[in-house]
């Protein structure tokens, strides 16, 4: 069974690695989310990111529809002038006179080629995964900054969640495969992650670890007692903005690759599990990445062995661990 999993690594390594790095990158900011008691903000931010991704699909589709039909349908290669050989002009003239060949389209194109390429490139750019990730991350950062400013913002958080949920379905309704994409983003699928995804989330995971090492105590102080932290000279507003941007960026980029379920689960579940048995937040900062990455790895193995989707298995496993850890912790406390 293990050898099968190892053998599958060659095929699915991008999915496994992307999942591991996403779990690592999101689980550490999850400690701050738990400390703030703002778990629902994670869900709202993830939902806002989904809205960004589907809006990008909508914009990409609209860009295609708004271009002239010939531009949108004819491949670029047809519009390029073919190499001319010596004597071709005379041959063309003779053939046209005889009615054998029509006027070549490339010579009658009414617009400058540069303009044609500019529009075509824009259309292609608006239909790339990069554009979708960018808009998804931007919406997530905006949502995180909007909702996490202070405690007691449940109404605003709920509003962001509902706008994200309804808007993403509406934006995707009229685009080709749009609702399929929404379904995929909600239910999570790690299959299809690319090398670029792996590199991106490895960088994010490294950033999360370094930020925790360098700023962890300041971030926690500013989170649990902002008034005193400010009096102590910490730049509380800047630290809060840093957390929110990082949270939005991580969730926003992860949604496109791993979907909402896995991203939200990786954000809050490892921290919730660690909270049940750790005696200090400092211990949580050690356990959370272990639970996140270890749980994800075990889940990927189980998913491969039992032929289930890996993202859902990981979330189910973390949920099971939480369900077991909470009563065990209470028993121990007695």
């Amino acid at each position: 069974m293990l050898s099968d999993f190892v053998a599958s690594w060659e095929i699915f390594y991008t999915s496994y690695l992307a999942g591991l790095f996403i779990a690592l990158a999101l689980s550490l900011p999850g400690i701050i989310v738990i400390a703030r008691d703002q778990i629902f903000i994670g869900a709202a931010t993830a939902q806002a990111s989904m809205l960004g991704v589907t809006l990008a699909m909508f914009i990409g589709g609209a860009a295609v529809a708004s271009l002239p039909q010939t531009w949108a349908t004819q491949p670029i290669v047809e519009r390029k002038a073919e190499p001319r050989l010596e004597g071709d002009d005379a041959l063309d003239a003779f053939m046209r006179e005889e009615g054998i060949r029509e006027e070549p389209k490339v010579h009658t194109h009414p617009r400058p080629l540069e303009a044609y390429y500019w529009h075509e490139r824009l259309r292609l750019a608006l239909n790339t995964d990069g554009f979708r990730s960018l808009l998804g991350a931007s919406m997530a950062v905006l949502a995180a900054l909007l909702t996490a400013r202070r405690r007691g913002q449940e109404a605003l958080t709920g509003w962001v969640f509902l706008v994200g949920a309804s808007g993403s379905v509406l934006a995707a309704s009229h685009s080709a495969h749009g609702l399929e994409e929404v379904h995929r983003l909600v239910s999570s699928s790690l299959i299809g992650a690319t090398d670029l995804d792996v590199a991106t989330f490895a960088a994010l995971a490294a950033g999360s670890v370094m930020a925790t090492l360098a700023l962890g105590r300041r971030l926690l102080f500013a989170t649990i007692d902002p008034w005193t932290a400010q009096a102590a000279g910490l730049r509380v507003g800047l630290l809060a903005a840093l957390i929110n941007v990082w949270l939005g960026l991580g969730l926003g980029l992860a949604i496109k690759t791993s979907g909402m379920l896995f991203s939200f689960g990786a954000l809050v579940l490892p921290a919730l599990i660690a909270r049940t048995f750790c005696r200090e937040v400092r211990q949580m900062a050690l356990w959370v990445p272990l639970i996140a990455a270890g749980g994800a790895l075990v889940a990927f193995f189980l998913a491969h062995a039992l032929n289930y989707p890996p993202g859902q298995v990981a979330v189910a496993l973390w949920c099971l661990l939480l369900a077991l850890a909470a009563p065990a912790s209470r028993l121990k406390a007695r």
Binding site: A35, R36, R217, R218, D225, T228, A231, A232, R275, E280
Partner: protein, 216 residues
């Protein structure tokens, strides 16, 4: 030694709306100030100005150059509002208050032990913060402020949620620190307690401040 805090014809407020007008007071080293007044009278507004979070609308607020560094300022809030389910030990809680001072772990550990001894909570380092009684938690807040070794300690209604016995004990603790040369500003509603410990009283009423000395 010069004044730690000097307010001259100070007007403070939010936006262009003044909350306090024409405030004149001088806080000298070693004094124990109690600021009395109803909610909304402007006590916390003046605290915000002293710790640098609010700029005066007019007048002057001068701080001793040593207080320009937040390292020399200790602050005790009314309460802490973080999630009770977050596992934070007493040691970790006080240690967090030392963030930004650039101390090594061993130095921080020593300061935590000293601060807990000063508030008579030795041996509770490993206890969960939320497992303590209300009075003990307030003492931990004071210990966190003392661990910074401040020249000025500002306590914003630290006894507001305590029973009379715990409140009295907390005031005694602050008085003991003042007698050991710490300057204290205590924001409180407890007039009797304030008269017992303060060297100076400031009454905040209808946007102005009146100052009186006490026999302490």
């Amino acid at each position: 030694m010069g004044a730690l805090i000097q307010a001259q014809d100070l007007t403070l407020g939010y936006g262009s709306t003044p909350v306090l007008q024409g405030v004149n007071l001088t806080v000298e080293p070693g004094q124990f100030w109690c600021w009395l007044g109803e909610n909304g009278a402007g006590k916390s507004t003046l605290v915000k100005a002293i710790i640098g979070q609010l700029k005066p609308i007019s007048g002057r607020l001068t701080r001793d150059p040593a207080l320009a560094s937040p390292r020399c300022l200790g602050f005790v809030p009314q309460r802490c509002e973080f999630s009770e389910s977050l596992p934070v030990s007493v040691r970790e809680f006080i240690d967090l208050g030392l963030a930004g001072l650039g101390l090594a772990r061993a130095q921080r550990g020593e300061r935590v032990r000293q601060a807990l001894a000063e508030v008579a909570l030795d041996g509770l380092e490993r206890r969960d913060f939320w497992s303590l009684s209300g009075g003990q938690r307030q003492r931990v807040l004071v210990a966190r402020a003392l661990a910074r070794k401040p020249r000025l300690l500002i306590a914003d209604e630290p006894a507001a949620n305590l029973d009379p016995e715990a409140a009295c004990s907390l005031l005694d603790l602050l008085k003991a620190r003042q007698l050991a040369s710490l300057t204290v500003i205590l924001v409180t509603h407890d007039v009797e307690g304030a008269r017992r410990v303060a060297t100076h009283l400031a009454r905040f009423e209808r946007g102005s401040v009146s100052v009186e000395a006490t026999p302490c």
